[in-house]
C-alpha cells in the first residue's frame, strides 16, 4: 500500500472517501444509511426531508427503462422533526450525515434547514430540484434568482456547509449554479433527474401514477457529466457529481470533469450497497496505477487539455 489517500475535503467537510449515496436512495431509514456507510461510502445522504410528513405518490412510483429508471416517489418522508432522532442515532454510530431537505416556500426551506442543522448534521443538501412535485410546490430551482434567495435564506441559519442540488431540466444550469454561489452555497450537487415518462402500449396510458418521473442511471450520465463540466467552468465552489455512477470509471469521469466527490443512486439496484466499496477501491487503483497521491489531484483534470 502506498501513501495514497482517498480522503476529500468538500467545503471544509472532510470525508474518508469521495462517495455518498444519492438523496432518496435508502435514505429514509437510519439502519439502511448505516449499512450504506458500512458498504464503503464516505458519508450518507438522507431522503429529502420536508416540514411535515408526506406519503408521496401512489404506486407505480418506479419503472425501469433502457439505461436507467424513472421514479416519481413524490418525496415521501417522515418530516424533518421526526428525522432528528434518526440523525442523532446515525451520528452516535459515527456516520457522517448530509441531510437533504426541501420546502414549498423560502420560509419552509429555512425552518427545515434550521431543524436539521440543530440536529447535528455534517452538511445540508438543499434540494430545489425534485421534478416530481413541481406542480404542487413550484419549481424553485428553475430560476437563478430563486436559487440565490433560497440559498441565502438557508445559509443564514445553517451551522454547516450547504450543498445546493441542481436540476438538469433547465436551459442553462451554470447560470443557476452561479445563483447558488452568489447565495452563499458551499458546494453544488449536480444533478438531479431528467424529467421523462413511460407509456405502456397495451394499457395505453402512462405507467407512473404521477405520469412523469425522474430519469436516473446510466442514461443520465452524459448529461450529468456535462452539467458538472459547465458548472466547473463557472463557479469556484466544489461540485458533487451525481447521475449514473455505476462503477469506478464513471466516478473518475466525474472527478476529471471537476467534481470533488460523487453520489451514487440507481446503481444500488444492480450492484447492492457494496457498490460504494467497489467504486472506492476502483478509484484507489486508478490513482495508484496513474501515480496520483490523492483524489484532489485528478479533480477537473480533463479541463486542462
Amino acid at each position: 500500500m502506498s501513501q495514497l489517500s482517498l480522503a476529500v475535503d468538500i467545503a471544509g467537510l472532510r470525508l474518508r472517501n469521495p462517495t455518498m449515496n444519492a438523496a432518496g436512495v435508502l435514505g429514509i431509514s437510519g439502519p439502511l444509511l448505516k449499512r450504506v456507510y458500512e458498504g464503503g461510502a464516505g458519508a450518507v445522504v438522507t431522503k429529502s426531508l420536508g416540514p411535515v410528513p408526506r406519503e408521496g405518490h401512489h404506486n407505480p412510483t418506479l419503472v425501469t427503462v433502457e439505461g436507467g429508471v424513472l421514479n416519481a416517489m413524490g418525496l415521501p418522508n417522515p418530516g424533518a422533526d421526526y428525522f432528528v432522532d434518526v440523525i442523532r442515532w446515525l451520528k452516535g454510530e459515527g456516520v457522517p450525515v448530509v441531510a437533504s431537505f426541501f420546502g414549498a416556500t423560502i420560509e419552509e426551506f429555512r425552518d427545515v434547514a434550521c431543524t436539521l442543522s440543530d440536529a447535528g448534521v455534517d452538511a445540508l443538501e438543499l434540494n430545489c430540484s425534485c421534478p416530481n412535485v413541481v406542480e404542487e410546490m413550484g419549481m424553485l430551482g428553475a430560476d437563478c434568482l430563486n436559487t440565490e434567495a433560497v440559498t441565502a435564506a438557508v445559509k443564514e441559519v445553517a451551522k454547516t456547509p450547504v450543498f445546493v442540488k441542481l436540476s438538469p431540466n433547465v436551459t442553462d444550469i451554470s447560470e443557476i449554479a452561479r445563483g447558488a454561489e452568489r447565495g452563499g452555497a458551499d458546494a453544488i450537487t449536480a444533478c438531479n433527474t431528467l424529467i421523462g415518462m413511460a407509456v405502456d402500449v397495451d394499457m395505453r396510458r402512462p405507467i407512473l401514477a404521477n405520469t412523469t418521473g425522474g430519469l436516473s442511471g446510466p442514461a443520465l450520465k452524459p448529461v450529468a457529466l456535462r452539467c458538472v463540466w459547465e458548472i466547473a467552468k463557472t463557479v469556484d465552489i466544489p461540485i458533487i457529481g451525481c447521475g449514473g455512477v455505476t462503477n469506478w470509471r464513471d466516478a473518475v469521469e466525474f472527478l476529471l470533469c471537476g467534481a470533488s466527490a460523487v453520489e451514487i443512486g440507481t446503481a444500488v439496484m444492480e450492484r447492492g450497497v457494496e457498490v460504494f466499496g467497489m467504486v472506492v477501491e476502483g478509484i484507489r487503483s486508478y490513482l495508484e496505477v496513474n501515480g496520483f497521491k490523492e483524489v484532489k489531484d485528478i479533480v477537473g483534470l480533463a479541463h486542462e487539455t
Binding site: L32, P53, E55, N59, T64, N71, N77, P78
Partner: protein, 274 residues
Amino acid sequence: MSGSRMKPDTLRVRQLVDVTEEAGDMVSLYFRDVQCSQALPGQYVMIWVPGVDEVPMSLSTIGRRKVSSVTVRPVGEATRYICDLKAGNMVGVRGPFGNGYTLECDLPLVVAGGVGAASLTPLAESLVTRGVRPTFVLGARNEEQLVFRERLKNLLDEGLVLATDDGSCGFKGFASDCALKLMDERQFDVVYTCGPELMMALIFRSAEDRGIQVQASLERYIKCAVGLCGSCAIGPYRVCKDGPVLTTDQLKVVRDEFGLQRMDPSGQAIKVDH
C-alpha cells in the same frame, strides 16, 4: 412482447388466462410469463392495475413452461379491484423480485397463516420435488378460509395439518399454537412461515428457543421493489430485495422491530397490529 431475454424488473402487461375463486373470498389470477416461470418459491411480483395501484403479491403458482399465478386476499382498494378482474383482463407485472426461500433442509415444518399459504405452497411443491416431505400447518380462522386445501392434501397427504381458530376443522387454535405443539413432538431443522406478523414473531421466538432455523416471509410497504427507495426497511434489510424471506440470523438483528413496528408510507414508525 414477451421475450425471455427481458430483465425481470421490466414491466410487462399480461392477459389473465384464468381467474379462480379460492377459499375465503380469495382469488387466484393466472397468466403466462417467462420470468415468473423461472421464479424461486417465496419470490413476489408487483401487480399493476392502472389507475388504482401497484401492489406486491407472492407467486402462488410458478408455472414451469405453464401459467403462473398470484392469489389475492381482498383487504383494501387495490386487492378488492384485483379480485374483481376476469379472465381476458390485463395486469402489469414486474418481477419476480426478492430472495425466496432457501430449500436446504431435512425435516421442515411449514406454517401458513391465511394468504401466507400463497408463497408456501410452491415451496412445499419444490421440497417434494427434491424428495423432502414437509409437515405443513395450514391455519385459518375457520374451515371456509383454508386456502389451497385440496392442492396441499394431494401433495402432502398426511403431511398436511389443518388448524382453525374456531376448531371448525382440524387443530383448534392458532396455527402458531399448532406449530409449537409439533415442534415439541418432532425434531424439525427448519421452520418456514408466512402469515400475520404476530404469528410469525411467536413462531420465531419458539423456534429460536429450540435452536430451529426460521425462514419467515415478511411484509413491509413496497414501492420501488428494486431496493432503492428504502420504504420497505426493517432494520438494515430491505424486504423487497434482501427479503421478503428473512432467516433466523437476520430476524435476531431486527428483534426490536419484528412483530412490533414498521414504517408507514411516509417513513414514520407505526405499530404492527396483526
